[in-house]
């Protein structure tokens, strides 16, 4: 009886551990600068002893469409399949990690059997540093600098800079034509809190990235205890 029980537990453990095995759990994708979408395949194998059925594969984002190749959802032991992920770049920049969850038949909703990740690297053509310039209320309304850098095969020129809040003055300074610019930001006063969105318009030919924004904020002073 004990032997039978041990054998049964061993078998059950083996079956529980088996499932879909993905060749890669993370795929890194360098996105071309002007691409609208990027697509990658995640290959998997049913390493178990029973047929597995994919109930759902979802990335929880309208930016990433996930399909099982050929619409095939049932996989016999040893059978190989492909999960195709298509990422819509939109106005993304930098590195974006999107997990894709795969539920098999019988998985609880809160615990998918597998999770794979598509990591998309989208070139950042225009960099802004810092993203928010800060002053405290009551501080000296000194000028601060927002640095703009261009990383592109052609020169990218700043066409205009504007502040959404008239209490902040902005002045564009060219450091290196087509490559590097400064925006000098000066609050007219700092005795009340205020926020400005600084809009930077460039002549970058990739329209979705041609306009950028940064922030300038006068925040209430927090007295240290």
């Amino acid at each position: 009886m004990k032997l039978f029980l041990s054998a049964w537990i061993a078998l059950a453990t083996t079956l529980a551990a088996a499932g879909l095995k993905f060749e890669e759990s993370l795929i890194e994708v360098p996105a071309p600068i002007d691409a609208e979408t990027v697509t990658r395949d995640f290959k998997f194998t049913n390493t178990g002893d029973t047929t597995l059925v994919i109930r759902e594969a979802d990335a929880g984002c309208s930016c990433l469409a996930v399909q099982v190749a050929g619409g095939k959802l049932s996989y016999a032991p040893g059978e190989i399949g492909t999960l195709r992920a298509k990422f819509e770049l939109g106005s993304f920049q930098g590195t974006v990690d999107k997990p894709i969850n795969i539920w098999l038949q019988g998985d609880p909703d809160e615990k998918p059997s597998n999770t794979v990740t598509m990591r998309v690297h989208i070139p950042q053509i225009i960099s802004l540093e810092p993203r928010t310039l800060k002053w405290e209320t009551g501080s000296e309304p000194v000028m601060q600098v927002l640095e703009i850098g261009m990383d592109y095969e052609k020169p990218v020129h700043v066409k205009s800079v504007a502040s959404s809040n008239p209490d902040f003055e902005v002045k564009l300074v060219t450091v290196e034509e087509g490559k590097k610019y400064h925006v000098e930001v000066t609050p007219k006063r700092t005795y009340t809190p205020g926020l400005s969105i600084i809009r930077i318009e460039t002549d970058l030919e990739i329209k979705k990235h041609s306009i950028q924004q940064s922030f300038a904020a006068i925040s209430p002073r927090i007295d240290k205890k």
């Binding site: 929880g60 939109g90 106005s91 990690d97 909703d109 993203r131 926020l195 924004q213 925040s219």
Partner: protein, 150 residues
């Protein structure tokens, strides 16, 4: 009795029972969401349990716009990754609300625990360096629904 007749009889009886239950008890209730228990000791550093979210929080809803419009939390700000939406507008609206509300905590939620969108949005908010602490709601919208119904 052959197999087909047996199947028909069983299916017919089951359907009749289900129909009677429907008539007697009415339409079935919306199923309770299944959410893993939030254990403070096990969650990631950038996550927060629904029970630990204070009143004066600023919520960021990372779900698709129709879902936010249908049942987004009162005062929440929409910011999702839908490529058809304008990410700059989301960023500007969120920054303005964070600044105006003076909230010291911003919590981002998406649809489910498995959804990864809220972490991307939370990272973007952090990169703005506007001041408040930014956390991701463990369990997402499902956990909120469960918390509010209990």
């Amino acid at each position: 009795m052959n197999a087909l007749a047996q199947f028909t009889a069983v299916a017919g009886l089951s359907l009749a029972a289900a129909g009677a239950t429907w008539l007697a008890k009415g339409r079935p209730a919306f199923p309770e969401p299944k959410v893993a228990v939030c254990d403070k000791a096990l969650i990631k550093d950038d996550e927060i349990c629904p029970a630990d979210v204070p009143e004066d929080v600023l919520w960021i809803d990372a779900r698709p716009r129709p879902e936010w419009m249908e049942n987004g939390l009162e005062g929440s700000v929409l910011w999702n990754l839908d490529p058809k939406e304008d990410a700059r507008v989301f960023e500007a609206q969120a920054a303005t609300r964070i600044f105006e509300s003076g909230a010291s905590l911003v919590v981002v939620y998406c649809g489910t625990e498995a959804c990864g969108t809220s972490r991307i949005i939370a990272d973007r908010i952090k990169s703005l360096n506007l001041g408040p602490t930014v956390k991701i709601l463990f369990g997402g919208w499902d956990a909120l629904r469960l918390r509010d119904s209990s």
